[in-house]
Protein backbone atom coordinates (compact mmCIF):
# COMPACT_ATOMS: atom_id res chain seq x y z
CA UNK A 1 0.00 0.00 0.00
CA UNK A 2 1.19 3.52 -0.78
CA UNK A 3 1.13 6.18 1.87
CA UNK A 4 1.58 9.87 2.42
CA UNK A 5 3.88 10.88 5.24
CA UNK A 6 5.96 13.81 6.45
CA UNK A 7 9.24 14.61 4.71
CA UNK A 8 12.33 13.31 6.52
CA UNK A 9 15.96 14.25 6.24
CA UNK A 10 16.87 10.97 4.56
CA UNK A 11 14.27 11.60 1.82
CA UNK A 12 16.07 14.65 0.49
CA UNK A 13 18.25 12.92 -2.10
CA UNK A 14 15.26 11.15 -3.61
CA UNK A 15 13.12 14.28 -3.48
CA UNK A 16 15.76 16.39 -5.22
CA UNK A 17 16.28 13.73 -7.89
CA UNK A 18 12.53 13.48 -8.40
CA UNK A 19 12.24 17.26 -8.59
CA UNK A 20 14.95 17.56 -11.22
CA UNK A 21 13.65 14.70 -13.34
CA UNK A 22 10.09 16.03 -13.09
CA UNK A 23 11.02 19.51 -14.26
CA UNK A 24 13.44 18.13 -16.85
CA UNK A 25 14.33 21.62 -18.06
CA UNK A 26 17.82 22.86 -18.88
CA UNK A 27 17.67 25.65 -16.32
CA UNK A 28 16.79 23.52 -13.31
CA UNK A 29 18.98 24.33 -10.31
CA UNK A 30 21.96 22.11 -9.48
CA UNK A 31 21.60 19.17 -7.10
CA UNK A 32 23.66 20.74 -4.33
CA UNK A 33 21.78 24.03 -4.45
CA UNK A 34 18.39 22.32 -4.40
CA UNK A 35 19.38 19.95 -1.62
CA UNK A 36 20.66 22.73 0.58
CA UNK A 37 17.61 24.91 -0.10
CA UNK A 38 15.13 22.08 0.46
CA UNK A 39 16.81 21.07 3.70
CA UNK A 40 16.86 24.62 5.04
CA UNK A 41 13.43 25.62 3.85
CA UNK A 42 11.35 22.46 4.22
CA UNK A 43 13.01 21.01 7.31
CA UNK A 44 14.68 24.00 8.97
CA UNK A 45 13.70 27.23 10.60
CA UNK A 46 11.86 29.52 10.28
CA UNK A 47 9.59 28.10 7.60
CA UNK A 48 8.97 24.48 8.57
CA UNK A 49 6.24 23.56 11.04
CA UNK A 50 5.93 19.92 12.15
CA UNK A 51 2.16 20.20 12.28
CA UNK A 52 2.00 21.38 8.65
CA UNK A 53 4.89 19.40 7.19
CA UNK A 54 6.15 18.93 3.67
CA UNK A 55 4.79 15.61 2.44
CA UNK A 56 6.02 12.70 0.37
CA UNK A 57 4.02 10.06 -1.43
CA UNK A 58 5.77 6.78 -0.74
CA UNK A 59 5.13 3.77 -2.94
CA UNK A 60 4.60 0.30 -1.48
CA UNK A 61 8.31 -0.46 -2.02
CA UNK A 62 9.41 2.68 -0.16
CA UNK A 63 10.29 4.69 -3.26
CA UNK A 64 9.29 8.35 -3.16
CA UNK A 65 6.83 8.95 -5.97
CA UNK A 66 5.61 12.42 -5.14
CA UNK A 67 6.42 15.48 -3.06
CA UNK A 68 4.80 18.69 -1.93
CA UNK A 69 6.79 21.32 -0.04
CA UNK A 70 5.41 23.38 2.82
CA UNK A 71 6.45 26.87 3.93
CA UNK A 72 4.61 28.11 6.99
CA UNK A 73 4.34 31.76 8.01
CA UNK A 74 2.87 33.30 11.12
CA UNK A 75 0.32 35.96 10.20
CA UNK A 76 -2.21 38.22 11.88
CA UNK A 77 -5.78 38.18 10.71
CA UNK A 78 -7.51 41.13 12.33
CA UNK A 79 -6.93 40.51 16.05
CA UNK A 80 -5.85 36.88 15.97
CA UNK A 81 -2.78 34.89 15.09
CA UNK A 82 -3.13 32.58 12.09
CA UNK A 83 -0.86 30.35 10.05
CA UNK A 84 -0.34 30.68 6.32
CA UNK A 85 0.93 27.59 4.51
CA UNK A 86 2.49 28.07 1.11
CA UNK A 87 2.33 24.94 -1.00
CA UNK A 88 5.48 24.53 -3.04
CA UNK A 89 7.34 22.33 -5.50
CA UNK A 90 4.62 19.75 -6.17
CA UNK A 91 6.25 17.00 -8.22
CA UNK A 92 5.22 13.49 -9.18
CA UNK A 93 7.17 10.59 -10.63
CA UNK A 94 6.15 9.81 -14.23
CA UNK A 95 5.73 6.15 -13.31
CA UNK A 96 3.15 7.02 -10.66
CA UNK A 97 1.00 9.48 -12.54
CA UNK A 98 -1.81 6.99 -13.04
CA UNK A 99 -2.06 6.66 -9.25
CA UNK A 100 -2.80 10.36 -8.97
CA UNK A 101 -0.32 11.12 -6.18
CA UNK A 102 -0.29 14.83 -7.00
CA UNK A 103 -3.96 15.15 -6.21
CA UNK A 104 -3.66 13.02 -3.08
CA UNK A 105 -0.74 15.08 -1.80
CA UNK A 106 -2.63 18.28 -2.41
CA UNK A 107 -5.74 16.93 -0.71
CA UNK A 108 -3.77 15.88 2.33
CA UNK A 109 -1.90 19.18 2.47
CA UNK A 110 -5.05 21.30 2.18
CA UNK A 111 -6.67 19.33 5.00
CA UNK A 112 -3.95 20.46 7.45
CA UNK A 113 -4.46 22.72 10.47
CA UNK A 114 -3.33 25.92 8.71
CA UNK A 115 -5.78 28.80 8.47
CA UNK A 116 -4.89 29.67 4.89
CA UNK A 117 -3.07 27.81 2.13
CA UNK A 118 -1.71 29.58 -0.91
CA UNK A 119 0.44 29.09 -3.96
CA UNK A 120 1.29 31.80 -6.45
CA UNK A 121 3.27 29.71 -8.90
CA UNK A 122 0.57 27.25 -10.00
CA UNK A 123 -0.22 26.09 -13.52
CA UNK A 124 -3.58 25.14 -15.03
CA UNK A 125 -3.51 21.51 -13.78
CA UNK A 126 -2.91 22.58 -10.19
CA UNK A 127 -5.61 25.20 -10.54
CA UNK A 128 -8.20 22.57 -11.57
CA UNK A 129 -7.30 20.23 -8.72
CA UNK A 130 -7.14 23.07 -6.22
CA UNK A 131 -10.61 24.29 -7.20
CA UNK A 132 -12.07 20.80 -7.01
CA UNK A 133 -10.79 20.67 -3.43
CA UNK A 134 -12.58 23.89 -2.51
CA UNK A 135 -9.89 26.43 -3.36
CA UNK A 136 -10.21 29.55 -5.46
CA UNK A 137 -8.10 31.96 -7.45
CA UNK A 138 -6.95 35.43 -6.42
CA UNK A 139 -7.17 36.97 -9.86
CA UNK A 140 -5.29 40.20 -9.30
CA UNK A 141 -2.45 38.32 -7.62
CA UNK A 142 -2.18 36.13 -10.71
CA UNK A 143 -1.09 39.12 -12.77
CA UNK A 144 2.58 40.07 -13.07
CA UNK A 145 3.93 43.30 -14.44
CA UNK A 146 7.04 43.67 -16.55
CA UNK A 147 8.71 46.96 -17.36
CA UNK A 148 11.39 46.77 -20.00
CA UNK A 149 14.53 48.86 -19.66
CA UNK A 150 16.57 47.12 -22.34
CA UNK A 151 14.10 44.95 -24.24
CA UNK A 152 16.55 43.16 -26.51
CA UNK A 153 18.75 42.09 -23.62
CA UNK A 154 15.69 41.15 -21.57
CA UNK A 155 14.43 38.86 -24.33
CA UNK A 156 17.86 37.33 -24.86
CA UNK A 157 18.41 36.94 -21.12
CA UNK A 158 15.12 35.14 -20.65
CA UNK A 159 15.78 32.89 -23.61
CA UNK A 160 19.25 31.97 -22.38
CA UNK A 161 17.88 31.37 -18.90
CA UNK A 162 15.22 29.01 -20.27
CA UNK A 163 17.97 27.17 -22.11
CA UNK A 164 20.05 26.98 -18.93
CA UNK A 165 22.81 29.05 -20.55
CA UNK A 166 22.50 32.30 -18.65
CA UNK A 167 26.27 32.39 -18.14
CA UNK A 168 26.54 33.26 -21.85
CA UNK A 169 24.61 36.45 -21.25
CA UNK A 170 27.89 38.11 -20.28
CA UNK A 171 29.14 37.59 -23.84
CA UNK A 172 25.89 38.62 -25.50
CA UNK A 173 25.30 41.86 -23.58
CA UNK A 174 27.49 44.06 -25.82
CA UNK A 175 25.64 42.79 -28.90
CA UNK A 176 22.30 43.91 -27.47
CA UNK A 177 23.52 47.37 -26.59
CA UNK A 178 23.01 49.22 -29.94
CA UNK A 179 19.37 48.19 -30.35
CA UNK A 180 18.59 48.81 -26.69
CA UNK A 181 20.18 52.26 -27.00
CA UNK A 182 17.72 53.08 -29.79
CA UNK A 183 14.83 51.96 -27.57
CA UNK A 184 16.08 54.10 -24.68
CA UNK A 185 16.26 57.14 -26.90
CA UNK A 186 12.59 56.85 -27.85
CA UNK A 187 11.19 55.92 -24.45
CA UNK A 188 12.09 58.79 -22.18
CA UNK A 189 9.65 57.92 -19.46
CA UNK A 190 11.93 56.62 -16.81
CA UNK A 191 13.53 59.68 -15.32
CA UNK A 192 14.87 58.91 -11.88
CA UNK A 193 16.90 62.05 -11.23
CA UNK A 194 14.49 63.31 -8.57
CA UNK A 195 15.53 60.59 -6.16
CA UNK A 196 19.11 61.82 -5.89
CA UNK A 197 18.50 63.69 -2.66
CA UNK A 198 17.05 60.64 -0.94
CA UNK A 199 19.07 58.10 0.96
CA UNK A 200 18.92 54.33 0.84
CA UNK A 201 20.07 52.05 3.63
CA UNK A 202 19.99 48.29 4.13
CA UNK A 203 16.52 47.07 5.06
CA UNK A 204 17.15 45.18 8.27
CA UNK A 205 14.57 42.72 9.60
CA UNK A 206 13.63 45.17 12.34
CA UNK A 207 13.22 48.05 9.89
CA UNK A 208 10.88 45.91 7.80
CA UNK A 209 8.88 44.88 10.85
CA UNK A 210 8.58 48.50 11.97
CA UNK A 211 7.51 49.73 8.54
CA UNK A 212 5.71 46.73 7.12
CA UNK A 213 2.41 48.54 6.71
CA UNK A 214 3.50 51.95 5.54
CA UNK A 215 0.97 52.51 2.83
CA UNK A 216 -2.50 54.01 2.98
CA UNK A 217 -4.21 50.68 2.63
CA UNK A 218 -5.78 48.97 5.64
CA UNK A 219 -4.97 45.27 5.71
CA UNK A 220 -6.96 42.56 7.48
CA UNK A 221 -4.23 39.95 7.01
CA UNK A 222 -0.51 40.61 7.26
CA UNK A 223 2.75 38.83 8.14
CA UNK A 224 3.59 38.60 11.83
CA UNK A 225 7.37 38.60 11.51
CA UNK A 226 9.94 38.43 14.26
CA UNK A 227 13.41 39.80 13.60
CA UNK A 228 15.27 36.53 14.09
CA UNK A 229 13.07 34.51 11.71
CA UNK A 230 13.04 37.26 9.14
CA UNK A 231 16.84 37.46 9.31
CA UNK A 232 17.07 33.72 8.64
CA UNK A 233 14.67 34.06 5.73
CA UNK A 234 16.72 36.92 4.26
CA UNK A 235 19.83 34.76 4.60
CA UNK A 236 18.17 31.85 2.83
CA UNK A 237 17.00 33.99 -0.06
CA UNK A 238 20.33 35.77 -0.35
CA UNK A 239 22.31 32.52 -0.35
CA UNK A 240 20.54 31.00 -3.35
CA UNK A 241 22.46 31.33 -6.60
CA UNK A 242 19.16 31.27 -8.51
CA UNK A 243 18.14 34.50 -6.83
CA UNK A 244 21.19 36.31 -8.14
CA UNK A 245 21.87 39.55 -6.30
CA UNK A 246 19.47 40.06 -3.40
CA UNK A 247 18.64 43.70 -2.69
CA UNK A 248 16.65 45.05 0.27
CA UNK A 249 16.53 48.77 0.83
CA UNK A 250 14.91 51.25 3.15
CA UNK A 251 14.49 54.69 1.61
CA UNK A 252 14.36 58.05 3.40
CA UNK A 253 13.68 61.49 2.00
CA UNK A 254 16.08 64.44 2.30
CA UNK A 255 14.83 65.12 5.85
CA UNK A 256 15.38 61.54 6.92
CA UNK A 257 11.70 60.64 6.96
CA UNK A 258 10.74 57.14 5.80
CA UNK A 259 9.70 57.05 2.17
CA UNK A 260 9.32 53.31 1.80
CA UNK A 261 11.13 50.04 1.29
CA UNK A 262 11.65 47.47 -1.41
CA UNK A 263 13.01 43.95 -1.69
CA UNK A 264 14.19 42.65 -5.04
CA UNK A 265 16.60 40.28 -6.76
CA UNK A 266 18.65 40.82 -9.88
CA UNK A 267 18.18 37.39 -11.43
CA UNK A 268 20.79 35.69 -13.61
CA UNK A 269 18.55 36.50 -16.59
CA UNK A 270 19.14 40.24 -15.87
CA UNK A 271 15.52 40.65 -14.78
CA UNK A 272 15.12 42.66 -11.59
CA UNK A 273 12.36 40.83 -9.71
CA UNK A 274 10.59 42.84 -7.04
CA UNK A 275 9.50 40.66 -4.13
CA UNK A 276 7.83 43.38 -2.14
CA UNK A 277 7.59 47.13 -1.73
CA UNK A 278 5.65 49.68 0.28
CA UNK A 279 5.57 53.44 0.31
CA UNK A 280 4.50 56.18 2.68
CA UNK A 281 1.14 57.59 1.51
CA UNK A 282 1.71 60.11 -1.26
CA UNK A 283 5.24 58.86 -1.93
CA UNK A 284 4.38 55.79 -3.98
CA UNK A 285 5.67 57.15 -7.26
CA UNK A 286 8.92 58.30 -5.70
CA UNK A 287 9.47 54.93 -4.11
CA UNK A 288 8.88 53.21 -7.40
CA UNK A 289 11.41 55.49 -9.04
CA UNK A 290 13.92 54.26 -6.47
CA UNK A 291 13.20 50.74 -7.61
CA UNK A 292 13.79 51.76 -11.23
CA UNK A 293 16.97 53.59 -10.28
CA UNK A 294 18.23 50.58 -8.42
CA UNK A 295 17.44 48.36 -11.41
CA UNK A 296 19.34 50.67 -13.73
CA UNK A 297 22.30 50.94 -11.36
CA UNK A 298 22.54 47.16 -11.36
CA UNK A 299 22.26 47.13 -15.15
CA UNK A 300 19.00 45.18 -15.18
CA UNK A 301 17.30 44.63 -18.51
CA UNK A 302 13.78 44.73 -17.07
CA UNK A 303 11.90 45.07 -13.80
CA UNK A 304 9.09 42.69 -12.86
CA UNK A 305 6.82 41.92 -9.96
CA UNK A 306 3.38 40.85 -8.86
CA UNK A 307 0.60 43.35 -9.38
CA UNK A 308 -0.89 45.14 -6.39
CA UNK A 309 -3.78 47.59 -6.61
CA UNK A 310 -1.78 50.70 -5.72
CA UNK A 311 0.83 49.94 -8.34
CA UNK A 312 -1.69 50.76 -11.07
CA UNK A 313 -1.13 54.41 -10.29
CA UNK A 314 2.66 54.36 -10.36
CA UNK A 315 3.71 51.81 -12.95
CA UNK A 316 5.27 53.44 -16.01
CA UNK A 317 3.13 53.74 -19.11
CA UNK A 318 5.04 51.10 -21.02
CA UNK A 319 4.47 48.25 -18.61
CA UNK A 320 3.27 44.84 -19.69
CA UNK A 321 0.77 42.80 -17.71
CA UNK A 322 1.21 39.06 -17.85
CA UNK A 323 -0.87 36.24 -16.50
CA UNK A 324 1.26 33.12 -16.65
CA UNK A 325 0.84 31.63 -13.20
CA UNK A 326 -2.10 31.34 -10.82
CA UNK A 327 -2.37 32.67 -7.31
CA UNK A 328 -4.55 30.11 -5.56
CA UNK A 329 -5.94 30.19 -2.04
CA UNK A 330 -7.77 27.74 0.19
CA UNK A 331 -9.24 28.22 3.64
CA UNK A 332 -12.07 26.88 5.72
CA UNK A 333 -12.54 30.46 6.91
CA UNK A 334 -14.27 32.36 4.15
CA UNK A 335 -13.44 35.71 5.77
CA UNK A 336 -9.73 35.04 5.24
CA UNK A 337 -10.31 34.16 1.59
CA UNK A 338 -12.35 37.35 1.20
CA UNK A 339 -9.49 39.38 2.66
CA UNK A 340 -7.09 37.99 0.06
CA UNK A 341 -9.48 38.24 -2.88
CA UNK A 342 -10.34 41.84 -2.01
CA UNK A 343 -6.62 42.72 -1.77
CA UNK A 344 -6.86 43.32 1.97
CA UNK A 345 -4.02 40.89 2.59
CA UNK A 346 -0.43 42.05 2.70
CA UNK A 347 1.34 39.19 0.97
CA UNK A 348 4.79 39.89 -0.41
CA UNK A 349 7.07 37.56 -2.30
CA UNK A 350 8.57 36.58 1.07
CA UNK A 351 5.37 34.65 1.86
CA UNK A 352 5.55 32.96 -1.52
CA UNK A 353 8.00 30.34 -2.77
CA UNK A 354 8.97 32.36 -5.82
CA UNK A 355 12.48 32.81 -4.44
CA UNK A 356 13.13 29.09 -4.03
CA UNK A 357 15.68 27.72 -6.49
CA UNK A 358 14.02 25.88 -9.36
Amino acid sequence: MSRIRSLRQDDLSQVVALYRSYLAVPNVAAVDELRMAFEQVFLGQPLSDPSIPSLVFEGSDGEILGFIGSLVHRMRFEQRSVRLACSSSLVVSPKARQFGPGGLLMRKYLSGPQDLTMTDTAGPATERMWKSLGGSMYHLGSVSWLHLLQPVRAAVGLKLWHLGRQQRLRLVRPLCRPLDAVYSRFSKTDGTGDVDEHTEEQLSPQLLIDHLRLGPQQFDLWPDHDAESLGLLFDQIGRSRSNGQFVKKFVRDARGKPLGWYIASLLPSDIYRVLGLAATPGKEELLFRHVLRSAKDLNAAAVAGRLEPWLFEVLPRRTMMLSRVRFLIHSRDEAICDAVRSSKALLTGLESDVWLPR
Partner: protein, 87 residues
Protein backbone atom coordinates in the same frame (compact mmCIF):
# COMPACT_ATOMS: atom_id res chain seq x y z
CA UNK B 1 -23.87 -6.55 2.24
CA UNK B 2 -27.01 -7.68 0.51
CA UNK B 3 -26.36 -8.30 -3.19
CA UNK B 4 -29.09 -5.93 -4.39
CA UNK B 5 -27.80 -3.18 -2.15
CA UNK B 6 -24.28 -3.78 -3.38
CA UNK B 7 -25.39 -3.58 -7.00
CA UNK B 8 -27.22 -0.38 -6.25
CA UNK B 9 -24.07 1.08 -4.73
CA UNK B 10 -22.09 0.07 -7.80
CA UNK B 11 -24.67 1.73 -10.05
CA UNK B 12 -24.48 4.89 -8.02
CA UNK B 13 -20.67 4.85 -8.07
CA UNK B 14 -20.77 4.51 -11.85
CA UNK B 15 -23.27 7.37 -12.06
CA UNK B 16 -21.11 9.64 -9.89
CA UNK B 17 -18.08 8.83 -12.03
CA UNK B 18 -19.96 9.70 -15.18
CA UNK B 19 -21.60 12.86 -13.82
CA UNK B 20 -18.71 14.36 -11.89
CA UNK B 21 -15.62 13.14 -13.73
CA UNK B 22 -16.97 12.29 -17.18
CA UNK B 23 -15.73 8.72 -16.85
CA UNK B 24 -18.08 6.23 -18.48
CA UNK B 25 -17.23 2.61 -17.79
CA UNK B 26 -18.52 -0.33 -19.83
CA UNK B 27 -19.03 -2.56 -16.79
CA UNK B 28 -18.36 -2.73 -13.08
CA UNK B 29 -15.27 -4.90 -13.46
CA UNK B 30 -13.57 -2.86 -16.20
CA UNK B 31 -10.00 -1.92 -15.24
CA UNK B 32 -9.89 1.88 -14.95
CA UNK B 33 -6.13 2.02 -14.52
CA UNK B 34 -5.26 -0.11 -17.51
CA UNK B 35 -7.66 1.99 -19.55
CA UNK B 36 -5.87 5.14 -18.40
CA UNK B 37 -9.09 6.69 -17.11
CA UNK B 38 -7.71 7.77 -13.73
CA UNK B 39 -5.22 10.58 -13.28
CA UNK B 40 -4.57 13.07 -10.47
CA UNK B 41 -7.41 15.34 -11.50
CA UNK B 42 -9.90 12.50 -11.93
CA UNK B 43 -8.88 10.92 -8.65
CA UNK B 44 -9.32 14.14 -6.66
CA UNK B 45 -12.64 14.84 -8.36
CA UNK B 46 -13.87 11.34 -7.58
CA UNK B 47 -12.74 11.38 -3.96
CA UNK B 48 -14.53 14.67 -3.34
CA UNK B 49 -17.61 13.42 -5.21
CA UNK B 50 -17.75 10.13 -3.28
CA UNK B 51 -17.32 11.92 0.04
CA UNK B 52 -20.10 14.35 -0.85
CA UNK B 53 -22.46 11.74 -2.22
CA UNK B 54 -22.03 8.94 0.31
CA UNK B 55 -21.14 11.01 3.37
CA UNK B 56 -17.95 9.11 4.10
CA UNK B 57 -14.41 10.29 4.75
CA UNK B 58 -11.78 8.58 2.61
CA UNK B 59 -8.39 8.12 4.28
CA UNK B 60 -5.91 10.95 3.85
CA UNK B 61 -2.68 9.07 4.51
CA UNK B 62 -2.93 5.50 3.28
CA UNK B 63 -3.77 4.81 -0.28
CA UNK B 64 -4.22 1.59 -2.20
CA UNK B 65 -4.68 2.33 -5.89
CA UNK B 66 -6.25 -1.10 -6.38
CA UNK B 67 -9.29 0.20 -4.54
CA UNK B 68 -9.83 2.48 -7.51
CA UNK B 69 -9.17 -0.17 -10.12
CA UNK B 70 -12.82 -0.73 -11.02
CA UNK B 71 -16.31 0.39 -10.15
CA UNK B 72 -16.73 -2.84 -8.22
CA UNK B 73 -13.61 -2.30 -6.12
CA UNK B 74 -14.56 1.32 -5.46
CA UNK B 75 -18.01 0.23 -4.31
CA UNK B 76 -16.45 -2.40 -2.02
CA UNK B 77 -14.08 0.20 -0.61
CA UNK B 78 -16.85 2.71 0.02
CA UNK B 79 -19.01 0.02 1.61
CA UNK B 80 -16.11 -0.85 3.95
CA UNK B 81 -16.14 2.80 5.05
CA UNK B 82 -19.84 2.62 5.81
CA UNK B 83 -21.25 4.00 2.57
CA UNK B 84 -24.77 3.00 1.61
CA UNK B 85 -26.75 3.67 -1.53
CA UNK B 86 -28.32 7.08 -1.48
CA UNK B 87 -32.13 6.96 -1.36
Amino acid sequence: MHTDVHHELRDQVAAVMSDRAGIDVPDAEADLLDAGLIDSMALVTLIVAFEDTFAVQLPLDDFDIDRFRSVASIADFLASLGAEPVR
